[in-house]
């Protein structure tokens, strides 16, 4: 398959997001009971993720002489933000209703650690939806 520069960077972003934040969330959800403030860890992870993304995208740019983004890429990006927004909104409403209706899940969101990791999960999920929908629309030939 002949992929464009944009499609290659999207695949790289999906993989790095899953590896970096997936492992962070896995460890976080596993150790919910002995939780302490994790702001420093999250901040370091985001910095590391950005640096890693820059390195990968620079490497892809070097290997691709036509590393451009055109009007179709920008249109696809805008459409994907819409899906990302819907995902995040649905997730926030999900948490609100769990707390309002006092469902069995609400106990989970009532703890700071549960709410913290859930919010991180929803943000990452929205980001992944954005990347995946961009890749799908790009390959589909929107």
């Amino acid at each position: 398959m002949n992929l464009s520069y944009k499609e290659k960077t999207l695949i790289a972003s999906i993989i790095t997001t899953i590896i970096f934040f997936g492992s962070y969330l896995y460890i976080g959800f596993k150790n919910l009971t002995n939780w302490s403030t994790k702001f420093g860890e999250l901040f370091a992870l985001v910095i590391l993720f950005i640096v890693f993304e820059i390195i990968i995208q620079s490497a892809l740019k070097l290997g691709d002489k036509l590393s451009i983004e055109d009007e179709r890429d920008k249109l696809i990006e805008l459409t994907s933000y819409k899906y990302s927004y819907w995902t995040l909104t649905a997730a926030i409403w999900f948490v609100i209703f769990q707390l309002l209706l006092n469902t069995p899940f609400s106990k989970f969101f009532n703890t700071p650690q549960g709410l913290f990791y859930s919010l991180v999960l929803f943000v990452i999920l929205a980001e992944l939806i954005s990347f995946i929908s961009q890749l799908y629309l790009s390959l589909k030939g929107k």
């Binding site: 002949n2 464009s4 520069y5 944009k6 499609e7 036509l66 451009i68 983004e69 055109d70 009007e71 179709r72 890429d73 790009s138 589909k140 030939g141 929107k142």
Partner: protein, 68 residues
């Protein structure tokens, strides 16, 4: 019946010395994937790109794109 924008880019490329999609993409500053999508009528380009394609083949715009 809903009208659609069709195009003759593939024919124009063939008539211009079998110009490749890649070469056309480079000439007008878009990706090859965009040319593929336009040719398959899956994407309608902006007026700017449409005019660039017409200029590249040195034909009027309505010879490249047809609204029917």
């Amino acid at each position: 019946m809903k009208k659609l924008i069709y195009n003759n880019i593939k024919i124009l490329r063939e008539n211009n010395g079998e110009m490749s999609q890649q070469k056309l993409a480079e000439a007008i500053g878009v990706t090859r994937q965009t040319i593929i999508a336009i040719e398959k009528n899956k994407y309608s380009p902006s007026l700017e790109v449409a005019f660039k394609i017409a200029l590249e083949f040195d034909v009027p715009l309505d010879e490249v794109f047809v609204y029917k």
